[in-house]
Symmetry: C2
């Protein structure tokens, strides 16, 4: 679906997903890659993001992996039902079963309900002119964060 | 507090936070760094994680930034009150006000309630022998994720 936002795993729009006002859902996937099969992993990861972006209820994805192989991918969804449907998707299921054993030294997956969101971007620093000045905000107030 | 888990921003325990069974809260902070002041940023970020780990209700943190400056930090908290208290912490407030303008080309912060969690680690791949084989699980069932 071309209307799905932020389908690029390396994070189009400079990496921040353009999500609507809360509430919505987040799947937080933290993982440590093995050193094996970088090419196979990259191809499958790209394909899964492409496929996820086509699913009903997909809102966006943010994904970062560092040189040590530690990665965090957060995908955003309209509802728990949308997450459940994606979980049951046949190609996704096959990739997941195949991939988790081979590619990950470990992972942790958390499903969470986003209650509030707050953002800011300096337009001059972004490549995407349609990205709103303030992405989403339930309260308008900055929230606590590690930084 | 030495009892706080996973205080290392570069993610002791190979990067995955050892969180308790849900429910608990997650602060998902996605950001794009400017190219400025790498040293000042790193020092403050380290200090903020050290400080966060001393706060009541802190459960852990996972943090990744890639070579392009895109980063995701997820901190975990027992309650919304714990998040609110950390937000009001004086040194944190000063660092945040000072740092956000200077260090970030853009950011998005989301506060979410973690409903379910599922994990796996291959003990032989981890440096930390006390990390449990299955980190946390509400249902025992794998959930959908981008991969």
């Amino acid at each position: 679906m071309s209307s799905a936002p932020s389908a690029d795993p390396e994070a189009g729009d400079a990496g921040l997903a353009r999500t609507p006002a809360p509430p919505y859902y987040a799947v937080i996937f933290t993982s440590r890659r093995t050193a094996d099969d970088a090419e196979g992993y990259a191809a499958t990861a790209d394909r899964m993001v492409e496929l996820a972006a086509q699913q009903p209820g997909f809102l966006g994805v943010e994904s970062v992996r560092d040189a040590d192989g530690l990665g965090i991918t957060v995908s955003y969804w309209e509802s728990e039902d949308a997450i459940a449907a994606w979980r049951r998707h046949a190609e996704h299921t096959a990739a997941r079963d195949d991939g988790r054993a081979r590619w990950y030294a470990g992972f942790e997956l958390r499903v969470a309900r986003v209650e509030r969101a707050y953002g800011r971007e300096n337009r001059q620093d972004w490549g995407q002119s349609t990205f709103p000045p303030v992405a989403t905000s339930a309260s308008g107030d900055p929230e606590g964060n590690v930084l």
